[in-house]
Structures are given as structure tokens and as C-alpha cells.
């Protein structure tokens, strides 16, 4: 039976989500999405700049991909709610990644405001994906408020530092019934694999792919890593030993037998 991720109103066969920010050339996004195998991509909303001829990012996203709109730029729950409603009015469905950030140095999410926005938007019928600091108590409250998934950070956005929050994410994975998607900071395919081995349901990667020397190849690498990590998770954990256990026969030869 195929291993699917049932999340919000979808059943996904790929567990890598891709962010579309920071690509030096938007035209590459289509190839990146294809190489990554991803079925969910994130986009952001911005004020229109009359003076620039910026292209519509949606032109580069295949139609079979689910678009998740993030609320980046929101500094509190009210702004996040406003951005979510504007995003929905754009006509790309109702998957919303709530991102409320008031700290500009580390871009850490404001869990309390995120919870407030989740309570309102879930009631309005949005599928809420809550970007959060990995905190079990808040994760439980987000689940209770109707979030479709929680998205704990691995390390600060764009830092490529990997899964620095491992122990806290593990607790959430073990205790929360809704999907857990590690978002932010994953820098290498091995970081993504580690998340999946641990039992996370998916990962979201943007900077590590968008700023790679070859984003298309890096997207492929992340796709393989996510699949490998997931497969290992499904097989169950391996035994560890305090001492060696030979993999080859140790019966002595080329020596005298006493």
C-alpha cells in the first residue's frame, strides 16, 4: 500500500514541501518543483510595486501543486488574519501557513499570536499550518484550536543550521496527533532525512534549495533524503550496542591452530 500523508483535505504521496522565496531566477522554480517531486509549495503576499514589473510567481507553479500562502510580514494575529483573508481572495484555496514574527534578528515566531490567529482562521474554514517554536504545550493548544498541522522550526529561517531543536521536536512528534512538519533552517539533505527518521510527517525547505549552486539538483537530493528517512522510519529503529558486533567471520585463519 502506498504511504500517503493525509493532511488537511489532501492525500499526498510526497513529503517534501518547497518554499519559492529567494530563487535568483523565477524561471527555475518549475524545474525545481519537478525535481523535488513536491506537491505543496509556499508563496507569500506583498504590496504591489507599481514601478516594478514583477512576475506572478504562480505562473511557475504547476497546476497540480497545492499552494500554501504564508502570512510572512505579519507582526501579530490580526495582521496574519488579514493576510490570510487576502490570500484566500486570490483564489488559490485555503491552505495558510501562519507565520507571525516580531523579532527581526532571529525571525522566531510568536507562539501566542500564532495561536490566536489559528483559533480565528480554523473557525473560518482555513486549513491552518502553524509555524511555531517547538513547544509541546502550544502544539497541543494549536491542535485543539483546529490547526491542520504544526510546523516547528529546526533552526532560524534561512540559517541552514539544521535540526537544532531535535529533542523538542521529538517530543511533539511523540505526543501530537496532527501532522508535524519541520520548517525552517534545514540546510542539508541529511537534516531532512533526520527529521523523517524521527517520525516527522513532512519537511519544508526553501533557502537550502533556492541558494544552492544547482537548485534543481539540490531539490532532487532533498527529495531522495526525505524518502530515505521516511522509509527508515516505517521500518522501525535499529538496535545500538555499547561494543562491536562483527559483520564478517572472525574465525582465525592464516594462523596456526593450537
Amino acid at each position: 500500500m502506498e504511504d500517503c500523508l493525509n493532511i488537511a483535505d489532501k492525500s499526498l504521496s510526497n513529503r517534501l514541501f518547497i518554499g519559492t522565496g529567494k530563487f535568483p531566477d523565477k524561471r527555475i522554480v518549475k524545474d525545481v518543483i519537478r525535481a523535488s517531486g513536491c506537491e505543496v509549495v509556499t508563496v507569500a503576499l506583498r504590496r504591489v510595486d507599481e514601478d516594478s514589473e514583477e512576475e506572478n510567481i504562480l505562473d511557475y507553479i504547476p497546476e497540480n501543486c497545492t499552494v500554501m500562502i504564508n502570512t510572512s510580514g505579519a507582526r501579530n494575529a490580526d495582521e496574519a488574519i488579514r493576510i490570510a483573508r487576502l490570500g484566500k481572495a486570490m483564489g488559490c484555496g485555503n491552505w495558510i501557513k501562519i507565520e507571525v514574527i516580531s523579532d527581526n534578528k532571529y525571525l522566531l515566531p510568536d507562539n501566542m499570536e500564532t495561536l490566536k490567529a489559528t483559533e480565528v482562521l480554523a473557525k473560518e474554514g482555513f486549513f491552518v499550518f502553524a509555524y511555531m517554536n517547538p513547544d509541546l504545550v502550544i502544539a497541543r493548544q494549536l491542535a485543539k484550536a483546529g490547526a491542520a498541522a504544526v510546523m516547528p522550526l529546526g533552526s532560524p529561517i534561512g540559517s541552514n543550521r539544521g535540526l537544532k531543536t531535535e529533542e523538542l521536536v521529538r517530543i511533539i512528534v511523540n505526543e501530537i496527533a496532527i501532522p508535524v512538519i519541520v520548517d525552517a533552517g534545514l540546510g542539508r539533505p541529511s537534516d531532512a532525512a533526520a527529521c523523517m527518521e524521527m517520525g516527522c510527517d513532512a519537511v519544508l525547505v526553501n533557502t537550502a534549495i533556492a541558494t544552492a549552486s544547482n537548485p534543481v539538483k539540490e531539490a532532487e537530493a532533498f527529495n531522495l533524503a526525505v524518502k530515505a528517512g521516511r522509509l527508515h522510519h516505517l521500518l522501525g529503529s535499529i538496535k545500538t550496542m555499547p561494543h562491536a558486533k562483527a559483520s564478517s567471520p572472525l574465525t582465525g585463519f592464516l594462523r596456526d591452530i593450537k
Binding site: 518554499g19 519559492t20 522565496g21 529567494k22 530563487f23 523565477k26 522554480v29 509556499t42 508563496v43 507569500a44 503576499l45 506583498r46 504590496r47 504591489v48 507599481e50 514583477e54 506572478n56 510567481i57 504562480l58 500562502i69 504564508n70 510572512s72 488579514r82 483573508r85 487576502l86 490570500g87 481572495a89 486570490m90 488559490c92 529561517i157 534561512g158 525552517a184 519544508l204 526553501n206 533557502t207
Partner: protein, 66 residues
Amino acid sequence: MKIKINGKEEDAAVFTSLADLMASKHLEQKAVVVEHNYNIIPKEKWHETAIAEGDNIEIVSFVGGG
């Protein structure tokens, strides 16, 4: 007439409607969403939305984001 567009105060000419304003900015064909005094106005209602002194207008579109 003074109105605020995307947080910036503009000394705007008199617009007969929101549709008029959007056309003057060459945005009527773009994939955008407009908020007029905190209410989202669907495109089909632009022409019947009057613009008045002190109005607050936000015009947004999609960009790449993580």
C-alpha cells in the same frame, strides 16, 4: 483628494470608482487583490466602489516565499 495606497499617502486625482483607480495604475489586468478600508473588494465590485478622501487601500499580489 488624499488617499492612502499601500501605506503611502497620495495626492490623488478624483477617481470615479475603485475600477477607475486600478485602471489609472495599469493594475486592472493583474493578478491582485484589493482591500478598501479593510474590506476585500472582489474585482466585479470595483466599478461600484466609490473612492473618498481619507480612504485606505491595499493592493497585494503573490511573490515567492517560504
